[in-house]
Subunit: 226 residues, 2 copies
Amino acid sequence: MARDMTLLWGSGSPPCWRVQIALEEKNLQGYNQKLLSFEKMEHKSQEVLDINARGQLPSFKHGDVIVNESYAACFYLESQFKSEGNKLIPDSPAEQALVYQRMFEGVTFYEKLNAVIYYDWFVPEGERHDSALKRNREALATELKLWEGYLQKLSPGSHLAGQFFSLADVTVFPTVATLFRFGLSAEHYPNLGEYYALLKVRPSIKASWPPHWLENPKGQDTLKDI
Amino acid sequence: MARDMTLLWGSGSPPCWRVQIALEEKNLQGYNQKLLSFEKMEHKSQEVLDINARGQLPSFKHGDVIVNESYAACFYLESQFKSEGNKLIPDSPAEQALVYQRMFEGVTFYEKLNAVIYYDWFVPEGERHDSALKRNREALATELKLWEGYLQKLSPGSHLAGQFFSLADVTVFPTVATLFRFGLSAEHYPNLGEYYALLKVRPSIKASWPPHWLENPKGQDTLKDI
């Protein structure tokens, strides 16, 4: 199965990491993979464009089936390999609803993170405003408080949508890890800190930890005061 | 079933419209609903905040289960009412992959649309730049060409992920309708124009057409030259 799969990915990209975690959770180790460099613009190479007209990573192929969007690949893998590895979407209506709800709030969470840590990358020099960056930081702080509250309502040691690990964790954990990589304080956000500590030792996550984070364990301090 | 459901929504909001179409497709007419006014800031009312901490529409409740994110609600409805109404996620791996892929590309499509038509709303006056709006318009044009190409590859009269109507149409059609509401030219984008003409008469879509568009059929011409 896994031998029919190819993943083109970049280190430290949350969307790529989601697909890698999903593949690990579904016991699909052994897939073909190629680590490409964003710095060298390899995501715009012909190899990527052949699969992905957007020139983005992840690019993912299973046999003749192409599913590049990270959430799409996660849904696809869970649906096609339902009985392999860990079940990532629960059956109970209430549990399932919470998994979906947190997954899609996760899209907003990720955008608000990017609007702060990649502000200079997204906004050309002549268009930057301190007032905009300040507003983005405030929006991220508001978002962080929401997630801190979500975790507060669950019992200690819970995952994002309850006791079990789910697609909500697959899709949102890479955002949480990136927050801490960029200096988020576990003292300011103790529930997120606990969640991060719980999941970073999970086998699927350890196995897919961004290699350049391993090589250079010190991140940045962009978010330390948030 | 539908009597246990409540939808709080706003007219012309693509995320609200997605949920309304999904409810129609799953034959869940008769749900409780309340049309709220964004202009009057009713999405920040206590009634909404009680269900949705973000103060956003749609806000959706089924019994005690709350699923506010529009994509989450669509997945939830399809999963919980699989055998009711129309099947919105196909079983075949290739068809399913394409539905998921287009759904999540649809998130980008919607963002690129908003970055043009709501630029002044998102960006405070002192931070606006003609260069940014021009770039956003170019990004939208590039995105439109992608979708025009996707439709070109399918046979005439197809839906977004093939011959059948699916969650890809549920989630992306409201974006397409908004494009035409804001003046997109069907001459410039004939495949999107044909798709729009095909779907706007579909019963689920007619039944949920934004009431303020019906009252005032003339839209804007923001996108006429794109």
